[in-house]
Symmetry: C2
Subunit: 384 residues, 2 copies
């Protein structure tokens, strides 16, 4: 077959799946498997909010498109929720429903970043943000932040060190994926003030806002509504990751630009997924969260204790420094040893410059499976 | 509120919804509404292939993510279908499941076009292709084709006139949206040969492949498998537009680049939507299509006859030259007159340089509603 034409170099620079080599190795594993690499939940969504609960008798035409911005009644429910949570008056014109928070972050980055512009990404970070910036031909700049900053002033000096004339966006994730840390309100205030001074956008990824165990989640939009697009997810909130339904909230005039990007990425968010999330917003979703949050916390505490690391402040992850257990094969060797015991972890380099780290999700499988997986990991780390 | 930072000029150059001004006018309309502007169907999907038919009892974990490329058994079913239809041996490594064909075209354009490169778009064209190219900072070049080319040789000379050193992709849509024309195999052969000669990619949008009434649909992949990404949709095929499930098929090595783009646009395609489409592929979907194709054809024939235009060869659209009915207000005035009678059409400029055209979908509402809407249009066009 003749050779195909060239592909785009920016996309070539995006890392492909970091799991595939290890996945092939895992396929040869005999015995129980512990898939603690992905951020997901073992639970089904709340009753009444599942696909089987949505019928064409109740919702005729439910397999047709909605408007690209979102289904009207759902936009209104999300706007009301955003108003109540942030204290910022929020109308439907401030809201865009998206294919998961991935679609929301993509629309925000696509609308605000021009080729060659730089996005400062507080690290460690959600793995997809780097590739999203590259997709739109921007330049991702990792800013090691968690564990580096220890005050509002140092938070600002950390980001300021990386700012250039090409910087256009600051990306923040709190509660943080992968560390679980919750960035304090006073630090966010200082960062928002700094962003305003330099006329930068803020993309604030808050998909774990409902999973805070220690501290309080603060909304960047409350502090800088004119320059913040916050992104949220029903994936994480209500256990509907496969539905691909999330949203972005921000100032209405530039939000129209986000709508253009999302319309051309996936047109509209799946109609049934919007209906399921709207149902969950009637109280069923929040009750579901209230019911499982203590269980998530207990799982996190137990995993942290078994692994000898600090308890998570939020999210569903622990980010482990495994440097003391690495031999000449490096991190890949350690992760291969894990795979040979059925344990799948996410490699540190997916989250920024962390060649000696690995991420564990403590909710991605049934609690007994997670517990056995954590035991395997504790053994490999020499914990007794 | 302080002013927000600047947004990206390429995105600013994407047209927003062409419907919104007219939609506000329509909201004031009293009486029946004829929404013939959108490409959709009034039918529900086949029984057994609706959301209500997918239960967590049968599919535990069905609200969780699948792998970004797609759900394994579904990838296999799609690969088998692509092999059978195109005659090109197709494996799962050649297939990417996407959020509708929109996601498939976006992944293909994102992976193959670098900023400043040009995409030749055979016009009239599907409205989103222009914005997709701009989203990835490429340059869309409209190539008036349908009605211009009348032989394989003239097809090539039409595209060759627009080729520059910056051209990287040729975008083809057949059966054509909005004209319904089916591009003959001999023309596609000549275009593929020309693309090979100049080392161009081909993105072949074939979402109406199942709705051909006159002529035969030919697959570009059969002719140039090394450089063609074809895009397909369960939206159109099986009446599942709101599910957002489609796919791209092409050479495996560069397909890995498309997976990177789609992963960063929407991560994975909704799990329930993949399950619904997989069910439809067991024969239920094809039977549904076989059942409604004659009805679609009859609707198209009746609309074409009433409006005094040629019968559609495929798709669910008619593209009308309304120039003889335009007054000093131009197309907007004509479309406003339609809206004042409850009739919504898609404006010609969405499809390329067609200031005197409008598109009608003859399947977007119940047949009796469509028929009354077509009557309204016939009256405005002075047909008796």
């Amino acid at each position: 077959m003749p050779k195909y034409p060239k592909t785009d170099p920016a996309v070539a620079g995006i890392k492909g799946s970091t799991f595939s080599a290890l996945a092939h190795r895992l396929a040869r594993h005999q015995g129980e498997v512990y898939p603690l690499h992905i951020g997901d939940t073992w639970l089904e969504p709340a009753e009444g909010c599942r696909m089987q609960d949505l019928t064409v008798e109740e919702f005729p035409g439910m397999h047709r498109y909605t408007a690209p911005q979102g289904y009207g009644p759902f936009l209104e429910a999300v706007a009301a929720r955003a108003s109540a949570r942030t204290g910022v008056p929020t109308e439907t014109a401030n809201v865009l429903i998206t294919a998961g928070a991935t679609g929301a972050v993509g629309a925000a980055i696509g609308a605000t970043v021009s080729p060659g512009e730089e996005v400062l990404i507080l690290a460690p970070y959600w793995p997809l943000i780097e590739g999203i910036v590259r997709s739109f031909r921007g330049t991702p700049v990792a800013v090691p932040f968690i564990g580096e900053a220890d005050s509002p002033e140092s938070a600002v000096s950390v980001v300021e060190r990386h700012r250039t004339a090409a910087t256009s966006v600051l990306y923040i994730s709190t509660p943080n994926n992968p560390t679980g840390e919750v960035i304090p309100a006073s630090w966010l205030e200082a960062l928002c003030e700094w962003a305003r001074e330099h006329d930068l956008w803020i993309v604030s990824d808050e998909v774990y806002e409902d999973y805070v165990y220690d501290g309080t989640h603060s909304y960047c939009r409350t502090l800088a509504p004119e320059r913040t697009f916050s992104t949220h997810s029903f994936s994480k909130a209500f256990g509907m990751a496969g539905n691909r339904c999330g949203y972005a909230v921000g100032p209405s005039e530039p939000l129209a630009e986000l709508i253009k990007v999302s319309t051309h990425a996936f047109y509209s968010t799946p109609t049934a997924s919007q209906l399921a999330a709207l149902r969950a917003l009637d109280g069923r979703g929040d009750r579901w969260v209230d019911g499982i949050r203590p269980q998530y916390l207990e799982l996190g505490l137990r995993a942290a204790e078994r692994l000898g690391v600090p308890a998570p402040q939020g999210s569903t992850f622990l980010f482990l420094d495994v440097s003391e257990r690495l031999d000449e094969r490096g991190l890949h060797g350690f992760l291969s040893d894990c795979v040979d015991r059925g344990l799948f972890l996410a490699p540190g380099p997916s989250f920024g410059p962390y060649p000696d780290h690995a991420r564990v999700c403590f909710t991605s499988a049934r609690p007994d499976v997670v517990e056995r997986g954590i035991d395997v990991l504790a053994g490999l780390l020499g914990r007794r």
